[in-house]
């Protein structure tokens, strides 16, 4: 399947370039004075966070179009994007505490971005659980679309509630991790990393989409039950 081949190539290139990001971030980007080496986690943490949220928006948009057009390709894409979003959210939720411990003195602090990403992670997991709980393919796609749209619409409200909650309950911090205007070299590394994460998102989604398609073909031929 051509799409699958393309997806694999893109992922492979993405992983290769990721190694490049690692080299650049670790060896060729200046160390931030206040936070030290741990600040470099930023180059992985933020691009992952951006894609964790963007993937949810794409799930929502694909879901809206699916309900109008009933095109199964949109449903496959939504499922693929949700899975990719889960992976990126997992990265944020892993690197976040690792970054937070030396900087804030505590592993978890209900920081606004971490909390938002936790929400996203739980929304993704709920989406995937719902899909696996519904046997009928038509109902599965429709229900998933409903949940996807609601999830996307919830995101702005999460921003408004979680950020508000935090400003009224300030957390003790040792150093404030900040992303002010980045000096040139750091910005370049960050952009490079963002590009690589984008590439990985695309590669993952294409492969996962192809997987859904292949599975549907096999189910239709009666060779595989619903998993």
């Amino acid at each position: 399947m051509r799409l699958l081949g393309a997806g694999r190539w893109i992922t492979a290139v993405g992983l290769l370039l990721l190694a490049g990001v690692y080299v650049r971030a670790l060896a060729f980007t200046p160390i931030e004075r206040a936070q030290g080496l741990a600040q470099k986690i930023f180059y992985l943490h933020v691009p992952a966070a951006i894609w964790a949220e963007a993937a949810m928006v794409l799930v929502g948009l694909a879901s809206i179009f699916y309900l109008f057009l009933k095109d199964p390709r949109l449903d496959r894409f939504a499922e693929a994007s949700a899975e990719a979003g889960t992976v990126f959210a997992a990265i944020v939720l892993t690197t976040g505490p690792i970054w937070g411990k030396p900087i804030w003195g505590t592993w978890w602090s209900w920081d606004a971005r971490l909390t938002l990403t936790l929400f996203l992670f739980l929304l993704y997991v709920g989406y995937l659980l719902l899909r696996s709980a519904v046997a009928d393919p038509g109902a599965r796609a429709r229900y998933a679309a409903v949940l996807g749209i609601c999830g996307m619409c919830l995101v702005p409200f999460i921003h408004f509630s979680v950020y508000m909650f935090r400003t009224l309950h300030p957390m003790p911090i040792v150093l404030k991790p900040s992303s002010p205007s980045l000096p040139g070299s750091m910005l370049a590394t960050w952009l490079f990393s963002l590009g690589v994460f984008t590439l990985l998102y695309v590669g993952f989604v294409i492969q996962r989409y192809a997987l859904s398609y292949l599975r549907e073909q096999l189910e239709a031929a009666g060779e595989v039950g619903h998993v």
């Binding site: 699958l4 694999r8 992922t11 992983l15 990721l18 690692y22 670790l26 160390i31 004075r33 936070q35 030290g36 080496l37 741990a38 470099k40 986690i41 992985l44 943490h45 992952a48 992976v87 997992a90 990265i91 892993t94 690197t95 690792i98 970054w99 411990k101 030396p102 990985l200 590669g203 993952f204 492969q207 996962r208 192809a210 997987l211 292949l214 599975r215 096999l218 595989v224």
Partner: protein, 37 residues
């Protein structure tokens, strides 16, 4: 006025390894699942 940079490279290493593990694991998972759907 020169402060020492905090010695927290261990965290950086842990985070970089964790990220690589997650991404490579998912890529491998996809590769294997698409070989035998």
């Amino acid at each position: 006025m020169s402060e020492t940079i905090p010695a927290n490279s261990g965290y950086m290493v842990a985070a970089y390894i964790a990220t690589a593990v997650i991404l490579v694991s998912y890529a491998v998972l996809l590769y294997r699942r698409t070989r035998k759907p």
